[in-house]
């Protein structure tokens, strides 16, 4: 039977102390952020109104709304998705369904890890060198979107690969044994069962892309434009850069304006993330096997 020796009691006391320490550490990691979010809501909340969302900035960006920046972010994110989603899904399908276990595959995986790890400002330099200057797109929505697309490509690849690999191998083997080609198997069985997982990844990418600032600073986003962009070769304002500008570059900004911009940006990003997480949880609850 269990004997409660002094040694044992001592051990459980030690365990209890460590447990509390780790709990406190977890709390200290999360608490400041909750405080910050509260402050953003308290200080930025009053700034947000219908006019804030739909009007142009006026009086040297010290008043008015953020409409062109909001719209610009939507343009940039949408165009970035157009490039990165097909490419990312293709890469994930290759890695999950076709790639042999060889050196080439290892190099591809390493490249993806590094693509995610390269500093955002280096992506900005690349975008400037490759798209703005070499391909002569100029500082434009197109150049900025391409830069963002390459930067967030790993997000789509990783999420897609994961959801493809969650489809049981037995399904593939059953299809192959009926004489289905790999592509027929992917199209009819693997992809339909992975599509919600892929969507989760895409939403996550939207959230990442919307918040990026450095990669678009020199490739297509402008501090201020008095008009809306008319083509992908025009520059645009963007919400993330707008926050940087009103917080650091513009004198005499009323106190709550930058808080309002920050709140709006955080709200968009967190909403997208929550959507993606909620989607994932629902998915887990209604498996087809």
């Amino acid at each position: 039977m269990f004997t409660q020796t002094a040694h044992n009691v001592q051990n459980y006391k030690i365990e209890g102390r460590w447990r509390i320490l780790f709990l406190v550490m977890t709390a200290l990691l999360i608490l400041p952020v909750l405080i910050i979010l509260t402050l953003l809501i308290v200080r930025g909340g009053p700034a947000i109104s219908w006019e804030f969302l739909t009007a142009f900035p006026i009086k040297g960006m010290t008043a008015g709304g953020v409409f062109p920046a909001l719209l610009g972010t939507i343009y940039l994110v949408s165009l970035a998705l157009v490039f990165s989603v097909p490419l990312g899904i293709a890469a994930a399908i290759y890695l999950s369904e076709y790639a042999p276990d060889n050196v080439m595959t290892r190099i591809i995986n390493l490249a993806i890890i590094n693509l995610a790890g390269v500093p955002s400002i280096v992506h900005a330099l690349f975008g400037l060198g490759a798209f703005v200057i070499f391909m002569e797109f100029g500082t434009s929505i197109l150049a900025a979107s391409l830069t963002l697309a390459i930067m967030t490509l790993p997000v789509v690849i990783v999420a897609t690969k994961e959801s493809l690999q969650s489809v049981p191998q037995a399904f593939r083997e059953a299809c192959w044994s009926m004489g289905a080609t790999r592509w027929q198997t992917i199209r009819r069985i693997v992809l339909p069962n992975a599509v919600s997982g892929i969507l989760t990844g895409v939403i996550l990418e939207v959230s990442r892309t919307a918040g990026e600032t450095a990669p678009i600073m020199f490739t297509g986003a402008a501090f201020f434009l008095p008009f809306l962009p008319e083509s992908v070769f025009d520059q645009t304002m963007a919400l993330s850069l707008h926050l940087f500008v009103v917080a650091t570059q513009v004198p005499n900004v009323p106190h709550d304006l930058p808080y309002g911009v920050a709140l709006l940006l955080v709200a968009i990003v967190l909403l997208m993330n929550a959507l993606s997480i909620g989607f994932r949880v629902r998915l887990r609850n209604k498996k087809k096997w």
Binding site: A170, F171, E173, C175, W176, S177, G179, I189
Partner: protein
């Protein structure tokens, strides 16, 4: 070793295995197998696990091409054609139905599970598909149980039903050869009996390879039986002989009488 079960027509046997060896990443799983499988027979393969039975099935429908690290030497002739020189392996696999140990209903409706193979072979007509689906489900003794819920998910049927669905699916590709790999492992005894009856009827139309861990099942069903042990084909012979003390190798007798395995 040649058994004279061959039809008078002189058509080549469905499978001729010649000096076949299988290895995974250099490790040999099956060594120098030589035998053939005749038309319209049930060919049993018995042996303890790890003796190379499943790998043999994989080699027959050329899954080595889709399995990393798997290599084969020797030759397999299917209806007289060397499968190693086959240019479109998908068309080969269409001629060979496989039933795996664990029931695998695809996450499609019952109907679409069975219509899968005809569809990828280009059958588009609804009427024709309906006919194939009904015929195959009937042949797999599943029709009566699922005819009212053809649209429900195949992967959510019971284990026994899924296994019969898998057989219906294998039949839907109209194969010449049906290979079953320990089909009864996850199935209740009643369903096992029903499937066994189905196999006996199917024999008149197609050839069947029955890999089984139950020696009695081989005894009940197989015309001829092969005994695999540790990657070696110990012997191939008439099932009757093997189970009545007339096996050529003493290890076979030991195994079928349950002294090891």
């Amino acid at each position: 070793m040649k058994e004279t079960n061959q039809k008078a027509s002189g058509a080549p046997p469905v499978l001729e295995i010649n000096d076949l060896s299988i290895a995974y990443s250099g490790k040999t799983i099956l060594r120098n197998a030589t035998f053939d499988v005749q038309n319209n027979e049930i060919f049993g393969i018995i042996g303890p696990s790890g003796s190379g039975k499943t790998s043999f099935l994989k080699a027959v429908n050329r899954m080595d091409q889709l399995t990393p690290g798997m290599t084969t030497t020797g030759s397999i002739h299917f209806h007289g054609y060397d499968t190693a020189t086959w240019r479109n392996l998908y068309s080969l696999r269409k001629r060979i139905g496989v039933v795996f140990p664990l029931p695998t209903g695809l996450p499609l409706s019952v109907y679409e599970n069975v219509a899968f193979a005809p569809r990828i072979s280009g059958v588009r007509q609804k009427v024709e598909l309906d006919q194939i689906v009904e015929k195959c489900l009937r042949r797999a003794a599943l029709w009566d149980e699922v005819k009212d819920r053809l649209t429900s998910l195949g992967s959510l049927l019971s284990g026994g039903q899924q296994q019969r669905l898998t057989i219906a699916r294998a039949l839907s590709q109209d194969p010449d050869l049906l290979m079953l790999d320990e089909f009864s492992i996850a199935v209740d005894p009643v369903t096992t009996m029903r499937i066994e009856d189905v196999l006996k009827q199917l024999k008149s139309e197609i050839s069947i390879i029955l890999v089984t861990n139950l020696v009695q099942q081989a005894e009940r069903l197989a015309d001829r039986t092969a005994f695999f042990l540790n990657g070696e084909v110990v012997e191939v012979g008439q099932t009757e002989d093997m189970f009545n003390g007339r096996a050529k190798d003493v290890r076979t007798t030991d195994y079928v009488e349950g002294r090891f395995g």
